[in-house]
Amino acid sequence: MSAVTTPVTRSPEAGTAPAESAWSRWANAHRKWLFAAPAMAFVAVLIIFPVAWTGYLSLTDAEGSVRAESEFIGFQNYLDVLSDTDRFWPAVWRTALFTFVVLLVEVVLGMAIALLLWRPFRGERWVRVAILLPLVATPVAVGMMWRLIFDPNIGMANQVLSWVGIGPQPWLSGQNSALPTTMFIDIWQWTPMVVLILLAGLTSLSDEPQEAALIDGASIWQRFRHVTLPLLMPTVIVAILLRGIDALKTFDILYATKGRGGGSFHEVETLNVYAYGLSFDYNDYGVSSTVLIIFFLIIIGVMWALTYRKKGLER
């Protein structure tokens, strides 16, 4: 429906109508912006200036203190960062790998669990409670919890492995196992989110196409592949979008389990962790701003690509 913009004519008898002051007339006429502007202004002020300033800093050699004098050095930082195969490119690679793996596992696993939960069953309430708990748990506390479980000496994880005759693993402290272990923690915490979203999508589907396929003699897999999945695709894309943005920006779990700098060998150092370390541990503001601008462009690019793909699917 369209908004009512024509003034309402009142009969003189409608004496109970509140007297309109000039202010309330003005407010009513401009309510569209009166309502929206404060929130927009708040966000814009907290975004536009910082992003512009980060862009400017990335062109300077700012370091040491945020108040220190800095010199304009053009695109030197960008050349340095983009040719840095020591920290920058590995961080880009790790960010991409982390995002890709957790997204893939969370969507596949989330889809499987959502399909299990789709039809009513006894004890549904309990499963729903279990699914909600990791989602609302504080990520830093979740990181700490897994840090104890994955501790190489006292952790439960190695204890369980020893029962089935597998030797102790270094988990978070291993140079090659740390990143997969943090991925596991992310998957533990956020798969339930994908489950909830997909379940909402499944519940809103109508039963008729399913029944028609059943009558045509389609197997379970065929029904999923050719009926459920295509109908659910828009919801899947929403889940990928929402989880993807957050997975790219993962910070809490990495910081809680490996600390600043992503461990002594930077083994879990993603772009977010790298930029945080550059800013607040090394106070290398020029370089960190450069990394952030590049990171920012990557996120915008990915977002654009995903929404573009989503529009393509809806057609």
């Binding site: 569209k32 966000v43 909600l132 748990a137 990520p139 506390a141 006292i154 533990w188 029944e211 809490d252």
Partner: protein, 271 residues
Amino acid sequence: MKPSRPFKVFRAVALVLVVFSLIAPLLWMVAASFKTNVDIYDTGKALVFTPTLDNYDTVLQQANYVQFIGNSLWVALAATVFSLILGVPAAYSMSRFNMKKSALVVLMARVIPGVSLLVPWYYVFSNLQMVGGYTVLILSHMFVSLPLIVYIMMGYFDGLPGELEEAALVDGLTHIGAFRRITLPLSVPGVATAGILSFIFSWNNFMFALVLSGADTKTLPVAIFDFVGYASIDWGGLMAAATVVTVPIMLIALFVQKYIVSGLTAGATKG
């Protein structure tokens, strides 16, 4: 459609596994919070141990945690209330007038990595002598809550029929009056959903408080790190601290499950 019998058995087994893997780690954390550090190191006492409240004593009496709990509550509540005041009317306007581009401005806050804002914020707020104060924490947490609230409420208002407002206009209410007396009371469930979710996300937020809080204004997620030393970790204290942070929010979640689920899945089914 009725599920077949073998499927039911398979489903039961699979779901028990899912529930176990989601709940067990949390129970493990709570169990460790009742153990002495000696018992935590003793794998023989994994399940059978003498519970002790010493860790909670450390956390609540010595580590100044009562104040940090207060900080978290105050920051999360204030950020939620102010974000609702700004966000609900904005979402209403954006939904009714189909202001997609304006909504995008607010939702950008959801997409931008928080670190990229922290250096400039830190610069400005330290020049204003506000770093370490509550105001800057509340403002930064509002940055998390506001887009969330706008997103949820826009979906909610989209689903409210405009006819009721039109009827109110005919009855002599102004546009703003109709919003205040008709639409707002009708959207109480939506506001509850948005408010609860905003509180949870603000309570759990870590990065902003890590940089912008001071020794006395620390929120709980930052205060947890007091138990992590460079050389050793007080595991018992750490798990008690982690329990103190997570358990209250989980209890809230259990009571208002319906709202949280509807908030987290807002917009999911529209595609």
